[in-house]
């Protein structure tokens, strides 16, 4: 940022960073109990970096919460714990496994845990009385997300009503709520996947190694490559083979697919993302293939 004779123009990354920091500070100034949802994926890692910057040199003034499906990649949990320790923030883990064990939710027969995350999330938010919840969702991810406000009002059931959103003008965010209601806040709304990667490069942000190309045992299901994982085993007839792959998104290991890739450095990933012809969710998420409006439906139920 020390370009001498300039025209007072910010680069697109600086604009996005400034906007995200502004949003985070608004939330902390106006809400008593904010929390940041942290999955260990690239977007939440970037969001945590922005939180660190927004309040520097003070510590991040809110806790971090992980809705743990129990289907994790080890590399992701390791980095989560490392970052949390480094930043000295409180980590709250809301465990889907515990919710299954206590009978609060029922595991679907296919073993996928995406949908049953929602009641676990809502329960944890209620228990800790969180009123503002930072999420790392970006509008370029999905057509329903593309419709959502930066401050997204949720009723006392955590539900999103897409036909009745609050107007949101300039940078004036309305955070007024009644008891039991909450606001989901999306500081990365205007970032694209490519912006995220440019930022990761610029800020030299460490990511779980699975974001970079590596050899892995995989099998092909519905045109997507799944890692052989404790929770995701090939069915008879599905052949296991070794491939150079990387992950474009990191979620529940039983649902997130890898993509064929040789990109083992940030620069190569940037080149790959810049030239890809498929969205990250389209390439990697089993959960969104079910129906046309999968994301909208989940959001209505209270999903991130």
């Amino acid at each position: 940022m020390n370009s001498p004779a300039h025209d007072y123009q910010l680069s697109q990354l600086d604009l996005l960073e400034a906007e995200a920091i502004f949003i985070m500070r608004e939330v902390v100034a106006e809400f008593e109990r904010p929390v940041l949802l942290f999955s260990g994926g690239k977007d939440s890692i970037v969001m945590l970096k922005l939180a660190e910057k927004a309040f520097y040199p003070a510590r991040i003034p809110f806790a971090v919460m992980h809705v743990d499906t129990g289907h994790n990649f080890d590399e992701v949990l390791a980095l989560r714990d490392e970052r949390v320790a480094e930043l000295k923030v409180q980590l709250i883990v809301a465990s889907v496994q515990e919710a299954i064990d206590s009978g609060q939710v029922v595991e679907p027969p296919d073993g996928t845990r995406n949908r049953i995350q929602t009641p676990v999330l809502l329960d944890a938010l209620e228990k800790h009385r969180f009123t503002a919840i930072f999420g790392g969702a970006r509008r370029d991810e999905d057509k329903a997300r593309a419709k959502e406000r930066i401050f997204s009002f949720r009723d006392e059931f955590g539900q999103w009503d897409p036909k009745n959103q609050r107007p949101e003008l300039w940078n004036l965010y309305n955070g007024r709520i009644h008891t039991g209601e909450s606001i989901r806040v999306f500081p990365l709304s205007n970032w694209t996947e490519l912006d995220i990667w440019h930022y990761i490069k610029r800020e030299e942000i460490e990511l779980p190694s699975i974001y970079y190309a590596h050899e892995r045992e995989v099998f092909d299901r519905d045109g997507m490559l799944f890692a052989v994982h404790e929770k995701k085993q090939p069915k008879p007839g599905e052949e296991v083979f070794t491939e150079m792959v990387r992950y474009r998104t990191v979620g529940d290991a039983s649902l997130t697919a890898a993509v064929r890739s040789e990109a083992d450095t940030v620069d190569l990933v940037i080149d790959e993302v810049a030239s890809t012809r498929v969205t990250e969710r389209g390439a990697t998420r089993g959960d969104d293939k079910f129906s046309e409006a999968a994301m909208e439906d989940r959001k209505r139920e209270g999903y991130f």
Binding site: M1, D7, Y8, Q9, L10, S11, Q12, D14, L15, E17, A18, E19, I21, F22, R25, E26, V28, A29, E52, K53, A54, F55, Y56, P57, A58, R59, R139, D140, D142, K143, A144, A146, K147, R149, P162, K163, Q165, R166, P167, E168, L169, W170, N171, L172, N174, R176, I177, H178, S189, N190, T192, L194, R277, V278, T279, G282, A283, E292, A293, E296
Partner: protein
């Protein structure tokens, strides 16, 4: 350096806004294959004759069922020169507030008109709102030229009528172009179907319109958002005022005044987490430290002693009413949010209600209902640090919030503060 252009669509229902955005994305090859596949599948299943490109932005279930846009969709694409943030807004009058949401942050508005229908009330309303919000660049897009045989006469008539209407508004930069969103004429490349049109394609215009000069680099405006006070030994005496610069340029050593208190001091440093910066300007998020220990808190404004906003409790403003459950009435009280300051306010008077078609001012009106626009006088519980909206969109804009329902009920643009 890559910059960003934010633009919004506007215009009446079915004039082709979403189709135009779909076409722009499709023809610039900035849509992903799986999104195209999904849209083709929906169109095919519905039995459409051609792929409905509007589905690329109309992402809600209800929108697809009804074939209209209900709320703003934000889409992103980039060419080698620019990143674009698109807000595709609804044309239906019921959802005007969502159009206002999309246009409030836009550098440029595309107002679409159906060439067969010409200007209708909703085109005028949206053009008026774009000018009220002072979107700096306006493009009148005469769409569906394929349905009028690419007639120059039809185009010229609409252009003429709109230019006359726009002359009564504040439109700093107006461009008019004939397109067919459905067929792609003049969207990304110039069309052979309209040789009489000599202007650029829409994309060419979007890539080249000059936006840098739209920012205010003169009036220093720094609303304090949050006070950073680390509770640690290392940073024991640190006290920094965090916020986003809304105007002017701040530098170390500058003399400043804090409003509304009027205390003065000098800037000790302007910082970010990456270190000190030489200069801060809009819209940077920074932390300002002052040489003196003075009382500064959220909602205060740091500026220069010789260039101050008006510190006022009486505010004249244009209001766009956005609530269907209750009208705005004189005497009613609301919560007002302006920069980082929140106060209470009472509506002291409604000077007039505006007819967006004729721009006639109805001075007898005593309330504003959904989507109506009028000029009001407000009295606030504490002073606001206000600029005319025409001078600074961010220190001149505010919203009203209903204290019972918590809904955002109005957008306001300050015309005068005293």
């Amino acid at each position: 350096m890559m910059d960003i252009l934010r633009f919004a669509t506007a215009g009446s229902v079915d004039d082709g806004k979403s189709t135009l955005i779909g076409r722009l994305l499709y023809d610039t090859k900035t849509v992903f294959q799986d999104q195209i596949d999904a849209v083709e599948k929906v169109s095919h299943d519905r039995g459409d004759d051609y792929v409905d490109l509007a589905l690329l932005t109309d992402g809600l279930r209800a929108e697809r069922e009804q074939g209209i846009t209900i709320d703003v969709a934000y889409r992103y694409f980039a060419t080698p020169n620019r990143k674009f943030i698109i807000a595709d807004t609804p044309g239906h009058i019921q959802y005007t507030r969502n159009m206002v949401t999309g246009a409030s942050t836009a550098d440029l508005a595309l107002v679409l008109v159906d060439a067969r229908k010409g200007l209708v009330e909703q085109s005028r309303r949206h053009a008026f709102l774009a000018s009220l919000l002072q979107v700096p660049h306006l493009v009148l897009v005469v769409n569906k030229m394929d349905l009028v045989d690419y007639s120059q006469e039809v185009y010229e008539n609409i252009r003429e009528e709109f230019t006359q209407f726009a002359a009564k508004l504040r439109v700093p930069d107006l461009t008019v172009m004939p397109v067919s969103a459905l067929k792609g004429d003049n969207v990304v490349t110039r069309s052979a179907n309209m040789p009489w049109y000599e202007g650029p394609s829409l994309l060419h215009h979007l890539e080249n319109v000059h936006v840098a000069s739209d920012r205010n680099l003169i009036d220093v405006r720094f609303p304090v958002q949050y006070v950073i006070r680390p509770q640690s030994d290392e940073w024991h005496d640190y006290r920094g005022y965090a916020g986003q610069v809304l105007g002017g340029i701040l530098k170390k050593g500058d003399e400043v005044i804090v409003l509304p208190s009027g205390y003065t001091s000098k800037i000790l440093s302007v910082e970010t987490a990456d270190g000190e910066v030489d200069e801060a300007y809009a819209p940077m998020s920074v932390t300002v430290r002052l040489e003196d220990e003075i009382d500064v808190s959220r909602g205060d404004m740091i500026c220069r002693p010789n260039n101050q906003p008006t510190v006022a409790q009486d505010i004249d403003a244009m209001i766009c009413w956005m609530d269907e459950s209750a009208p705005m009435r004189v005497g009613a009280k609301y919560s007002i949010k302006h920069t980082t300051r929140t106060a209470r306010t009472i509506v002291k008077g409604l000077q007039y209600r505006l007819d967006v078609n004729t721009l006639h001012r109805d001075e007898e009106a005593n309330e504003l209902t959904l989507n109506e626009i009028g000029r009001v006088r407000l009295r606030t519980t504490v002073p606001l640090m206000a600029d005319d909206y025409s001078r600074n969109r961010n220190t001149g804009g505010f919203v009203l919030v209903d204290e019972g329902t918590n809904r955002t009920v109005a957008a306001g643009m300050i015309t005068e503060a005293s």
